[in-house]
């Protein structure tokens, strides 16, 4: 059992603060939470909203029908009232009351706020009312007010909350709180925390929505963790700086969205040929070019897999939720250093920005495996052809008398420019050999639902949650359905797919894009063709419910 609340208004009206307040209070009440934001690429005006879903058991996705809409403006009323469930309620200032309204809750929010000293308190008054509607304790909000509001405005917000609380009666049956410990965060924070855990100490990036959250997270921790987060002059500098830091011996990382990644493409190849470890977070948004800067899409899969001239090994890991994002980020650093390759963490605005409650991370599961050499056969050969296929990697200046030469041209074992066909062949094979080695590391996709199903959904990355909910719903409706959700996408793990696809009558790719990029990759890698597609490309994340209805349509 769970509830679904939407908070909406124009940018600058305080939607964000109100949403945060509610989320935190619900968190303190020990509910499971899934909260996602829909916002425009502007700082004031327009229409932004947040959907906060909370309940008794884990939530993996937003839900389309609403139990409560808290409207700070008329647009919110107009855009979302149709989505209210039969028992759903509309909450807003009296001034917003539509002409023909039966069961809205229209309160003197603005007037109360003004009386308490500031129109900005309107949201807090509404939050107080919401607390009561869901039969929560006013006291549970106390620590939240403490942490969210600066001392100067804390008292007035407290009064506002209380005033709202006292304006209404409880309406919704109470939920059972969860017993286990939960943390709440979004995917970008999870990546940032994963990077910190993994010992990353140099992050260079150029701001770009929706990836900036990673940089913000790390920048806030600079002093405490003794790291450097540097804003580069452009994305080309960012990735080349990250490579320089990695070459010089530290774990480094960069992050961006598709447009910035475009500018990093040449240096991706530089990582490839110089065999410099690097972790790159690419948080997708809808393209092409500037596209829809604050929205979500899975439009860059084929791009990141084949970006850059020439052929070299890389690894691409699609992030499936904040839980996954943390562990995969830490894993990415190990893989990057083990194989001396670039590893791309492919997220998107959805998984980057939605908040979810999850069990605390188990830091004992994180290891830091540097795979660095400290001694060299002399003279040191940076690109030595070894039996394992991996050359020993020294940190410059850390092995007396030996020097480390990295080169973007084709090179000899010493790193010197070569034009030899024989050496070229050996070096190409050496690098591509790592793709074979990587195959042993690659993780099979998650599987949800019924094994050997009639209907097999295939998906990747951030749609994991919605797909999982969709599968549960459909199984309850008696459909023989299972889903594979890929995390590692390149090199492509094909074992489970071949198994599950063997007996499926329908293989449906569920993707947040217009051309079905996973389906294309599957054809290339396994010759398995999807029979139907569920695609969405309007920049709004699909919900579990959406998938269910679209799957039923195409079946």
């Amino acid at each position: 059992m769970d509830y679904n609340v939407l908070v909406g208004g124009a940018a600058g009206q305080g939607v964000d603060t109100l949403a945060k307040l509610l989320e935190q209070i619900l968190k303190k009440n020990n509910f499971e939470i899934f909260s996602n934001k829909d916002y425009m690429s502007r700082v004031r005006g327009g229409h932004n909203f947040t959907q906060i879903r909370f309940g008794e058991s884990p939530l993996y996705s937003q839900r389309d029908d609403l139990d409560l809409v808290i409207a700070l403006d008329m647009t919110t009323v107009n855009n979302h009232r149709a989505r209210l469930s039969t028992s759903g309620k509309l909450l807003g200032d009296v001034s917003l009351r539509p002409e023909l309204d039966a069961d809205g809750i229209w309160l003197p929010l603005k007037q109360t706020a003004k009386a308490l000293g500031s129109p900005l308190l309107e949201g807090t008054v509404a939050a107080g009312a919401a607390l009561k509607l869901f039969a929560l304790q006013l006291a549970s909000a106390e620590p939240v007010l403490e942490s969210i509001f600066q001392a100067a405005i804390r008292a007035s917000n407290h009064q506002a909350l209380e005033a709202g609380f006292n304006m209404v009666e409880s309406v919704f049956p109470t939920l059972e709180p969860v017993n286990e410990h939960r943390i709440m965060l979004n995917g970008n924070q999870a990546i940032g925390l994963g990077a910190l855990a993994a010992g990353c100490c140099f992050y260079a990036a150029y701001p770009m929505t929706p990836s900036t959250g990673i940089m913000n997270y790390l920048a806030a921790k600079m002093a405490e963790t003794k790291i450097v987060v540097e804003q580069a002059e452009d994305e080309i500098a960012a990735i080349n700086m990250a490579l320089g830091a990695s070459y010089a011996g530290v774990r480094s990382m960069t992050g961006t969205s598709g447009g910035g990644f475009s500018l990093m493409v040449e240096a991706l190849g530089l990582a490839g040929i110089t065999e410099t470890p690097l972790v790159i977070a690419e948080i997708q948004r809808p393209g092409p070019a500037t596209g829809l800067p604050t929205r979500t899409e899975q439009g860059d899969l084929k791009f990141v897999i084949s970006a850059a001239q020439g052929e070299f090994p890389r690894m691409v890991i699609a992030l499936r939720n904040p839980q996954d994002a943390f562990y995969q980020t830490a894993r990415a650093f190990n893989l990057a250093e083990q194989f001396q390759i670039p590893v791309i963490l492919l997220g998107d605005q959805y998984v980057g920005d939605y908040y979810q409650t999850i069990p605390p991370y188990d830091f004992s599961k994180i290891t830091i495996e540097r795979h660095l050499s400290t001694e060299a056969t002399k003279p040191y050969r940076r690109y030595a052809l070894t039996e394992s296929g991996i050359s020993p990697r020294l940190v410059p200046g850390r092995c007396a008398g030996e020097i480390v030469l990295a080169d973007s041209d084709e090179h000899t074992e010493f790193g010197h420019i070569t034009e030899s066909a024989t050496v070229r062949n050996a070096m190409v094979r050496k690098r591509l050999q790592k793709l074979k080695l990587l195959e042993a590391e690659v993780e099979e996709p998650w599987f949800f639902g019924q094994s050997e199903p009639e209907v097999l959904l295939v998906a990747w990355g951030s749609t994991a949650g919605p797909v999982r909910e969709a599968v549960e719903t459909m199984r309850q409706a008696g459909i023989s359905v299972g889903a594979l959700v890929f995390g590692d996408v390149y090199p492509f793990p094909s074992r489970s797919l071949k198994q599950q696809a063997a007996t499926a009558k329908h293989i449906i790719n569920v993707e947040q894009n217009a051309t079905g990029q996973l389906a294309a990759l599957m054809r290339d890698e396994t010759l398995i063709a999807c029979t139907e597609s569920v695609l969405k490309y309007d920049g709004r994340a699909m919900s579990g419910g959406y998938i269910v209805s679209r799957v039923k349509e195409v079946l």
């Binding site: 910190l196 450097v228 530290v250 994180i366 007396a400």
Partner: protein, 288 residues
């Protein structure tokens, strides 16, 4: 131990692919001498470069090298210095590389003032790609691409660097290698970003700016020259034509990037940082 000289310490075994007579040879020699004079060890020096003839230099000297992408020598160089301040970090690369493709990094790294030395082998031409105009090619010069003469006004890199706020700006000449050695030493010893633009004849593709052309024009800044005056430096830097000054045009003390990383002051260099995953565990508290 046998007596050492610059050659024996810094010589590379790689065959040099430059044209005989190229101005890069004396620069390489001066560089080795400067490093030797300063008592640097090969494993404590890093030279980063982009792509071009000058940019091949890291192969011809025995020090750590990062021969990266065309135009992108500065970003890896400053990052390496940031994470390991113990390294002596230089960039040796061409005028096209530094001022053309890499112009944005040039501009912004002056602002950062990371303690590195940027040696630009300025032959006023794109050498490796066979002779197109570079940002420093004179107006009117005819090339395979500028078939009707170059029409873009040349950049005066030392002037720009001083204007944007570099704390060390000098010009050298491949034809005066001892002087050049001294300039390189001063640039390396300067704390902060040091630009040394080196006039470097390209005997294959620049038939205008030859050794003779430069010899007729260059003169050394006198001892009376006050290199700390910004106004005067701007005026000197603007001199180009029948007379071209070489020497340290401008030098002042300025906080470096590292000085401004105040939160790292008393902690080990990033490359020596000790860290366990558990050290980040407490950040989960704020997510409760």
């Amino acid at each position: 131990m046998a007596e050492q000289n610059a050659a024996s310490v810094f010589d590379s075994t790689d065959e040099i692919a430059w044209c005989p007579g190229c101005g890069n040879f004396p620069i390489l020699k001066s560089l080795k001498q400067a490093l030797f004079d300063l008592g640097k060890q090969p494993d404590q020096v890093l030279i980063a470069s982009g792509i071009g003839q000058a940019a091949k230099l890291p192969h011809y000297i025995k020090v750590n090298g990062f021969n990266g992408l065309h135009g992108r020598a500065l970003p890896p160089a400053i990052a390496a210095k940031i994470v390991n301040p113990g390294l002596t970090v230089l960039v040796n690369t061409g005028d096209g590389d530094s001022y053309g493709e890499g112009g944005n990094h040039f501009l912004h790294n002056i602002r950062r003032n990371v303690d590195i030395t940027h040696l630009v082998h300025n032959n006023q031409i794109y050498g490796l790609t066979k002779g197109q105009a570079s940002p420093t090619t004179d107006l009117g010069q005819v090339t395979g691409v500028q078939t009707l003469g170059n029409i873009d006004q040349p950049l005066d890199p030392v002037l720009m660097a001083i204007a944007v706020g570099a704390s060390f700006v000098a010009r050298g000449f491949a034809g005066e290698p001892e002087h050049l050695t001294e300039l390189i030493k001063a640039a390396i010893e300067h704390k902060g970003y040091a630009l040394l633009d080196i006039l470097q004849p390209c005997v294959s593709f620049n038939k205008v700016n030859t050794y003779d052309w430069y010899r007729e024009r260059v003169y050394r800044l006198g001892d009376d020259y006050d290199r700390t005056s910004w106004q005067q430096a701007m005026a000197k830097a603007a001199e180009w034509g029948s007379k071209i000054p070489i020497g340290i045009l401008y030098q002042i003390d300025k906080p470096t990037f590292a000085d401004r990383l105040t939160w790292l002051k008393n902690s080990p260099h990033l490359v020596d940082r000790q860290w366990e995953p558990k050290d980040a565990e407490h950040f989960m508290q704020e997510l409760d």
